[in-house]
């Protein structure tokens, strides 16, 4: 069993499937032709670019280049946390806090997974570091977004109850404890569901990739288990940091609830 490279002709053949998308949009007057075209071009260009960039970085195997691309990924994830929320907290503090959270979790969990557990030679081998960092960041930011969205939504809805506790002399963390509880549960559910259903409903992308590349399925499964543990740990950390961070952002040092800091609905 060997790895079969794809030719340009193969990709062209697969691209004909897009005609179905276009036909559906045209037939049902969905007016998505333009969006489909943009999405397809973006996907191809972005993947081609990252392919070239990764090839370059893998060839260097330099810690500097690896760290630089890692940083770009972390900042992009930080921006994504802000844009994905329906009503984010305004200001650079929110962005800074979220990016810093992703930075520390990304480094710590990827460091544990690659540096200590997998242990490639050299330890900073970008072939291991960057994909794992990407998976850790992607899942952590999904959990964080869920928590932040739930926190702003619940704090607005439960304003009376939160302020009733504050008025009775409660600390801001005490007053927000119910909201934090709900938000953290919400943030943890997707990764728990993912762990419970993985391998039954669909094979995870990384495992599929490894199998296609000719790796023994049992070895691929082991890697997937490792990744799931890393992701679960990172998500849990992200959920806690996002929850506590949201309390700090939504209240001030005089323990006041500051809903005025939430961006208005557009």
């Amino acid at each position: 069993m060997s790895y079969i490279p794809l030719t340009t002709t193969d990709l062209m053949l697969a691209a004909t499937l897009l005609i179905i998308n276009a036909a559906i949009s045209w037939f049902f007057r969905l007016q998505l032709e333009k969006s489909i075209a943009i999405a397809v071009v973006r996907m191809v260009v972005q993947l081609a670019l990252i392919g070239v960039v990764l090839k370059f970085i893998f060839a260097q195997t330099s810690p500097t280049w690896t760290a630089m691309l890692g940083l770009v990924m972390i900042v992009a994830a930080g921006i994504e946390v802000m844009t994905r929320q329906t009503r984010p907290v305004r200001g650079w503090q929110a962005f800074g806090l979220q990016t810093a959270t992703l930075f520390f979790i990304g480094i710590a969990v990827t460091g544990l997974g690659v540096g200590i557990i997998i242990g490639p030679d050299p330890w900073y081998a970008p072939r291991y570091v960057l994909p794992i960092l990407g998976m850790v960041l992607g899942n952590t930011l999904t959990g964080m977004c869920l928590v932040l969205d739930t926190m702003t939504e619940a704090a607005s809805r439960e304003r009376g109850a939160i302020e009733a506790r504050l008025a009775l002399g409660a600390h801001r963390f005490e007053a927000m404890s119910n909201v934090l509880h709900v938000a953290m549960r919400t943030g943890m559910i997707p990764i728990l569901n993912a762990m419970a259903t993985t391998g039954i409903v669909a094979l995870p992308g990384m495992m599929t990739g490894q199998i296609l590349a000719g790796v023994d399925p049992v070895e691929a499964a082991k890697y997937q288990v490792l990744i799931m543990f890393l992701i679960a740990g990172a998500t849990a950390l992200g959920v806690v940091c996002a929850g506590v961070g949201a309390i700090v952002l939504l209240t001030d040092d005089r323990h006041r609830l500051r809903l005025d800091r939430i961006r208005k609905k557009s």
């Binding site: 304003r159 009376g160 109850a161 009733a164 008025a167 009775l168 005089r254 006041r256």
Partner: protein, 207 residues
């Protein structure tokens, strides 16, 4: 004694007044004139500029939670964070003593009300429960926002009696109300707020 100096809240004109122990100050004014905002600012629940002293100590000299332990705001429409009122009273130090029972009796509430889900307790009963909760840990100043808005005359009389008793035992009270008769019955001092200037028009400044 609560002393408020040059308190600025949003577009309201700055306020300076004091409330002695055992004294009741009534804030009067039409809806939207800022009664609730003033009470919330004194409890430090909203940002405001100016100085507020309680027995000589400025609010920023102590943690906000300590300030609100002494200067207690009671919302016009109280909200709860527990299933039953029992849960909200459970964390008070005096919960076990007879104090809670005495307060409930004074407010005309049955003890069994504590275990009923708050979602099916009437608005008036919730308002009186909130007043009882606010009095459990002996605050020094009470900021009462329309304390009898949801009550029938009988319950109103009970609440007014309880407020008078709080005044006699040395607590200062600031009462926001648009019930003239109630203000006549309770207040020693009155603060009349002007109607807010409408947006687009500027207030005339006295020379």
């Amino acid at each position: 004694m609560l002393r408020v100096e040059h308190l600025r809240i949003g577009d309201l004109s700055p306020l300076t007044f004091k409330v002695a122990d055992g004294e009741c100050l009534a804030i009067e004014g039409p809806s939207g004139s800022g009664k609730t905002r003033i009470l919330r600012a004194i409890a430090d629940l909203d940002p405001s500029q100016g100085l507020i002293f309680l027995d000589g100590a400025e609010r920023n000299e102590m943690p906000a939670s300590d300030w609100r332990r002494h200067v207690r705001y009671c919302a016009a429409e109280p909200s709860w964070w527990t299933e039953t009122a029992q849960g909200a009273f459970a964390d008070t130090e005096n919960a076990e003593s007879g104090r809670l029972q005495r307060l409930l009796a004074a407010l005309g509430l049955a003890g069994s009300l504590l275990n009923r889900p708050l979602s099916i307790v009437s608005t008036g009963e919730r308002q009186r429960l909130a007043l009882a909760r606010a009095l459990m840990d002996d605050p020094k100043v009470l900021l009462l926002d329309e304390p009898t808005a949801a009550l029938d005359p009988q319950a109103t009389a009970l609440v007014e009696e309880l407020i008078k008793y709080q005044l006699l035992s040395g607590r200062g009270v600031i009462l926001a109300s648009h019930n003239r008769a109630q203000i006549e019955r309770l207040a020693h001092v009155r603060l009349l707020l002007p109607k807010r200037p409408r947006a687009g028009t500027t207030a005339e400044h006295a020379a």
